[in-house]
Symmetry: C2
Subunit: 285 residues, 2 copies
């Protein structure tokens, strides 16, 4: 099936490594963009970012069961391999790696990677197993591809910091590059899960980035942290069906900020629900 795709594609680690090693022999620098497919412009901008620093770019598509909890959307997560492959080819990506679940987690698989620090709170509160699943699969993917650099979207900001942390802690020989969030015309952060939204939900979804930008502006202008955060939460609760969090955190460690006002680099982060769809977004202060 992979042969019919409009891009060179492999589904085994062995074939992946053969290709990457042959590029490396030719002196090429390798970039890597891991994805779960259902690609949109945001993903393609990661490929573009990788091409700035690499001669050859590998993208992976793997919907990782280990990072979905029971009752989350693993089964219904959009799977659109053919159109994804076409988009990757169009973006200048050189190789698609699309392994099966058995290739990634063969019988007897027994190892996992855990990260504390930046993984604490926020997403972990709603999705306690999420970062364990992410850390393990990203460690595997980075070791499978062995790229010089790997690009992750700032859209998943906590995930980006978790991956930076694990790459540093486990001495993975790779540069972790964060790429700016791509947004729709109304500022909604692009996400594969936006496909779940009805037209009416889609319209409400566009308010999240506005509320976050407002909060960021208030914090930046020196307003006291706690009341600004509370007010933003109230604004979000008026629009969305529920608010998992809307918080200001240290931009580097994601630790809560205990001061009355923010002085160092900070980030506003939020997760809300519109209907059955969970949306996340974040911005620099």
């Amino acid at each position: 099936m992979l042969e019919s795709l409009p891009i060179d594609a492999v589904d085994t680690v062995a074939a992946l490594r053969r290709q990457v090693q042959s590029w490396r022999k030719d002196g090429h620098r390798i970039g890597f963009v891991p994805t779960m497919g259902a690609l949109h412009e945001g993903h393609l901008s990661l490929v573009t970012r990788a091409l700035e620093d690499a001669d050859r770019v590998v993208a992976s598509i793997f919907v990782n069961p280990a990072q979905f909890a029971q009752g989350e959307d693993f089964d219904t997560y959009p799977r659109t391999l053919e159109s994804d492959a076409a988009k990757l080819a169009g973006a200048g990506c050189h190789l698609l790696f699309a392994p099966t679940v058995m290739e990634m987690y063969p019988n007897g698989f027994a190892s996992s990677v855990h990260v504390e620090g930046p993984a604490f709170g926020l997403e972990s509160q709603s999705r306690p197993h999420f970062f364990g699943g992410v850390a393990t699969v990203v460690t595997k993917l980075l070791n499978q591809v062995q790229p010089d650099l790997a690009v992750f979207g700032e859209k998943d900001y906590q995930q980006l910091l978790v991956i930076r942390r694990l790459a540093r802690d486990l001495d993975l020989p790779v540069d972790i590059v964060g790429a700016e969030t791509s947004r729709d015309r109304d500022g909604l952060a692009l996400s594969s899960r936006n496909a779940y939204l009805s037209p009416a939900e889609r319209e409400r979804a566009g308010r999240l980035n506005v509320i976050l930008a407002e909060l960021a502006r208030e914090i930046r202008s020196g307003q006291p942290l706690e009341p600004a955060q509370m007010a933003a939460r109230e604004r979000a609760e008026a629009v969305f069906d529920s608010v998992d969090y809307i918080e200001v955190r240290d931009a580097d460690t994601l630790e809560p900020i205990v001061a009355e006002r923010v002085s160092g680099p900070a980030r506003v982060l939020a997760a809300v629900r519109v209907g059955k769809t969970r949306l996340i977004d974040n911005m620099a202060v």
Copy 2:
């Protein structure tokens, strides 16, 4: 201090990688032998084994706090860097990597590797945090050195299988090689902890391998598993101050064998205490 050692030595990952990368540019194959120092002939045989398959061999010496529990012998573990360096040089090792605790676990360190499967039971029963500490530091060391092969002693058989498992599961691009246990004249497996033994304890310690060999012979000759194991345990209890375990397990998975007699490849493994010293050993059936 490293400059005065009788072998090329580095204590930072950056310096280590510079050396390894320069060897790799010259087309050399890299072997790696991780140790906690207090080197004996057993360790040196791992260097010899690595030299069979590699052009350049790195040995590390790092007494890893993460694999010692409170009350274990981290503080008193023998530290003999100068004589270790001389022994490594004599064995043909090319580079010593001796990082500090801060180089391995800098402030903010927040990641860990966990292995189930072969890590279940046996050593984990007495030392529940041991393999977590081992898995994390070995993942780090393998990523720091990036060797083609790494040699581990069969003396720590369960550890060898745990490391094989994690290298496979996390797709570390390295061959994990097991090397036969080196033994003293009376068959006692060489161990840095043998240095703790008084002369009288040392004599009793030499019985462990005899009891294990006897059990292996009985199992091999088709005797029923359970009674043979029980009898070996009783023989061990008569000699040692306590017996943590003496068991026959599947040689590849370390799963308990449920059949009455052993048919596939199996391993006998034991941990006992002589005075304050804990000894482990194992043998193929």
